[in-house]
Amino acid sequence: MKIVLEHLTKRYPNRNKKIGGFVVAVDDFNFEIPDGQLIGLLGPSGCGKSTTLNMICGLETPTEGKIYFGDDDVTELPPEKRGVGMVFQSYALYPHLTVRQNIMFPLENLKGAQKLTKEEMERRAQEAAEMVQIERLMDNKPSEMSGGQQQRVAIARALVKRPRVLLLDEPLSNLDARLRLQTREEIRRIQQETKITTVFVTHDQEEAMSISDMIVVMSAGVFQQMGKPQDVYDHPKNLFVAKFLGTPAINVFDGTIRDGKLYLGDDAVMNAGGVEDQDVYVGIRPEGFILDDDGPMHCGLNRVEVMGRDTTVVSTHPSAQSDMIRVIIPSESRTAALENTVNFSLKPFKVHLFDKETEEAIPFLSE
């Protein structure tokens, strides 16, 4: 079931009555979530991810705009009529009910022609439990289980009605690191088995990149970019997206374009054809540097961190916006001889130029 958002906007009255006015939590969203895919909705805390998800779910009504599931306009429908399943960060399991009762709860609410027999409900609950591999815990109470198990129960409860759309709001944030990895694989597997259109909200870019078919990046209520995770990483549309994706973060410099060349300070570090002469922001991914004694980029060496497969060279550059720049190179590189300074040449496709005013990406030719 594809989901279409049309001019979707949500304004809240400001919580702080003294300031008054409105908070624009979601500002004029227009995009389409393709059928059967897992979409990661990504952005920093407070940027309106939950609000967007709640509007898709039907828990919040949009101030403006429309939501379509397939060709159906669901904007005015309450959640139970939309055929959605929702998973919350806090799990939101009913603590006084057993796992079985929790999973059966949505089925017991079905009315009229949809009403199921007791046996059918039991069977469906069992099926959903097997899907998330908690069938042996059916008679436990939520408090007797680990966070990961509880989140699986919540997923089973969301799936048991066979929803058209599955919505997850930061489902992994309350789990410890190991369970987080495990559960995210689990969510990926379940999504691929069921082929349910899924929207997965997170503020963790690595999480979103690792399991999503597509990611949607947003910031302060404003849509930034949508695409395959690798495409968005390789072709960020603006400085925010470039900075938000990738760990360690992209290194940002103040640069100048002159005569088709990119200058950092007085050094011409790279060709940048087809761009008018101007000052620019330069983003260089940590993996975009090549250790090269004759390289055009001259940096002060701070320290070298060898970590198994990769080596991080922490260094300084006068044009850099941060005190330190982080460069990642393969561990085989000969770093032992380095002293005080280090020179690099650049991989052009790991370098991004952004307009100083709009912070939009500027296309360029490196040949």
Partner: protein
């Protein structure tokens, strides 16, 4: 380990001393009084030991009237006050505007002086040379005839007593229940809405179980409080509760000790222990019931 526990006992000592002097010793004393026949507090003598005092008390019509009054009070006021408090709390919980204002209004009686409360009830119910009371004004307006709530028929007096008790305990119950309702995780309601539960089903299947420990707490303390009722009755009906037919068990105990016909510590002790047995039994039943409901 041993040293630690010695220290622990040392810290507990002040509390233990107070408890033994003011709670445990009197309790034993009351037990002893209650089995001493014909005890005379002036001469400190008695005839013998046995169940005579209990037999006397259980046959005393004033005691039986007090038991009846107390039970009616308990059975009516505990469910009514808890139920009404729950309704008001649910209302408070679901409104956005003016919530603080209403919360303050409902809590006012709790911080209001007893005398002021008594005055309000006078205005509502008492017949004076100038007026028949506010309630009677209303009854008259609807064509009914004046009822004397303070010195009139038994049911009218009982109505005032129950009304007063419910009104006095309401603020505390509302306070407890509104905070219990506010502490229920909001995500549970969101989840239930997505799961398609109707608001009635959300109330029965989620809200009620989530706040049931607090409801049981209110029922148990409500029972105990209502069984101990006495001072409110004096405030409304005066000190001669036996004559008014509105005595309670605690009132009977007090009268037996200090009342006009008092001076019988043995009878008072026997009545007090009967009350103790009743409250203990009912509290145990309550606890068992609450354990059953919370487990299932």
């Amino acid at each position: 380990m041993y040293k630690n526990s010695a220290k622990a006992w040392l810290y507990l000592l002040p509390a233990l001393i107070f408890l033994s002097v003011f709670m445990i010793y009197p309790l034993f004393d009351v037990m002893i009084y209650s089995v001493e026949e014909g005890y005379n507090s002036a001469s400190q003598t008695y005839f013998g030991v046995g169940a005579y005092n209990y037999r006397y008390v259980l046959r005393d019509p004033y005691f039986l009237q007090a038991v009846k009054n107390t039970f009616i009070l308990v059975i009516i006021t505990v469910p009514v006050s808890t139920g009404v408090a729950l309704l008001i709390s649910l209302g408070l919980n679901s409104i956005q505007k003016l919530r603080d204002l209403f919360q303050t209004i409902f809590f006012l009686p709790y911080v209001t002086n007893t005398l002021a409360v008594g005055l309000v009830f006078m205005i509502l119910f008492k017949k004076t040379p100038y007026s028949d009371g506010f309630i009677n004004l209303i009854i008259n307006a609807f064509g009914g005839s004046t009822i004397d709530f303070i010195e009139g028929p038994y049911w009218a007096k009982m109505f005032v007593m129950c009304f007063y008790t419910v009104w006095v305990v309401m603020p505390f119950k509302i306070l407890i229940l509104t905070s219990a309702l506010a502490s229920v995780d909001k995500d549970l309601y969101k989840a239930a809405k997505v799961d398609g539960a109707t608001s009635f089903r959300i109330f029965r299947k989620i809200t009620l179980p989530m706040i049931s420990p607090m409801i049981f707490y209110l029922i148990i303390t409500g029972f105990i409080g209502a069984f101990k009722a006495y001072s409110d009755e004096v405030a409304i009906f005066g000190t001669n509760l036996n004559a008014a037919g509105m005595n309670t068990i605690v009132g009977y105990v007090y009268d037996m000790l200090y009342g006009d016909s008092g001076g019988y510590p043995s009878y008072a002790s026997a009545a007090a222990l009967i009350l103790f047995a009743i409250v203990l039994t009912i509290t145990c039943i309550n606890l068992l019931a609450s354990r059953k409901t919370t487990i299932s």
